[in-house]
Subunit: 268 residues, 2 copies
Amino acid sequence: MAKAKKAAGTKTKEEPVILITNDDGITAPGIKALVESVKGLGKIVVVAPDKPQSGMGHAITIGYPLRLQQVSVFEGVEAWACSGTPVDCVKLAVDKILHRKPDICLSGVNHGANHSINVIYSGTMSAALEAAIESIPSIGFSLLDYSVEADFTGAQHYARLLVQQVLGKKIDKHLCLNVNIPLAPKELLKGLKVCRQAYAKYEEEFAERKDPHNKTYYWLTGEFVNFDKGKDTDVWALKNNYVSVVPVQFDLTYYKLKDKLEQSLITK
Amino acid sequence: MAKAKKAAGTKTKEEPVILITNDDGITAPGIKALVESVKGLGKIVVVAPDKPQSGMGHAITIGYPLRLQQVSVFEGVEAWACSGTPVDCVKLAVDKILHRKPDICLSGVNHGANHSINVIYSGTMSAALEAAIESIPSIGFSLLDYSVEADFTGAQHYARLLVQQVLGKKIDKHLCLNVNIPLAPKELLKGLKVCRQAYAKYEEEFAERKDPHNKTYYWLTGEFVNFDKGKDTDVWALKNNYVSVVPVQFDLTYYKLKDKLEQSLITK
């Protein structure tokens, strides 16, 4: 199987394979917009969750088996609905559908922001990062609009612009971009801006309810708080109508703290 | 609510609060071993999943409400079973059980390794990282033994040694340590070794099965492959009977690639 997974050789000029997934589910308007935006740039194959999987982070399915079903959702595009998480979709696509690594993996367009700390909770971005672990260049797209009737025109323009650039040259073995698009008409967008992830988090306040048996249950809610005043962050870029582009990595080592601990830790 | 969540003041010398969670579920032997190992170092409160949540990564529960149930599992220790993910447990513990930030959050001891790339799939480590986002010092522990009858003696020794050091001084605002313990008798362990995350991944091969209706389903399986020959990695340390300690961060920005992209990206 390992052999079959190798990226397409460069000798024969094959059409690039574009794998598309998301976390809102295969019927979400955002993924349709993404498929439309890259038509003509390669052979598109969609493998996406059969139901919403927002907030699934980098979850994989261990305790349950996974199902794949070929579906007809996008005109002229091969598409598969998967019962698992966004990360499962990428793994299954490579092993069981494409039987090779795609030339690029796209995720989204997510309905809602994935800037700053959201990258860590986001199924959209985890799918992209999973591809990067596999040395597949990847881009996750998110629009700052939760509405099912959101306008994806700007997102589509910048998605195509980015995909063309990434397909055109080898930028990095583990390229993974977290792209967020502001809620603004396309003509007001100022262009792509390369950023770092803002330091921000959610202040949780679980909403408490009682069920008909008078037992308590909780809904996760939270207020977004940005602690980062930097003008090089994704949050700043989005507020100023730039499309934010944060390169993301999967080496989570905190090197600065590593050096400090090496000096100070009692080891036995 | 924000006020109630502040860390305990330093004026009154209160007993430190130790929050303990895991991803194998509140009845797993590993969490019991962890609770035992830190007895006497502070007030312990356990908030852990009511069922196994391995591989949940940084998933949070959005589409369903969460339940909390006080349980009697550990002698003399307040304990709550939570219907959500490990990350949900940390969030709920702070907001609804402790009503303040604990002085430290411990996760584990996980039944099985969480070194190298496993950090990104691990519910154990995601719980710890969630605490670090909240400026709660945290440590995740994992033993390289999946067995329900695993020997946690070595893990317990090093857990206590580390917790004493972290409680004793303010090392870093967002301290999060990924600690793995080799499968070896305690007397053969060479001590703690500060490491970086090895570059490794899984080669997936989904196992294919047919259900009684002749429909196909898949089980995730994979072979671990380490590409990293460095002697400063967690994988190397564990092979050489060290307890690996990798400091982990939640800023996923790939800074090296950021600089490169700033020079080369066509932005409009």
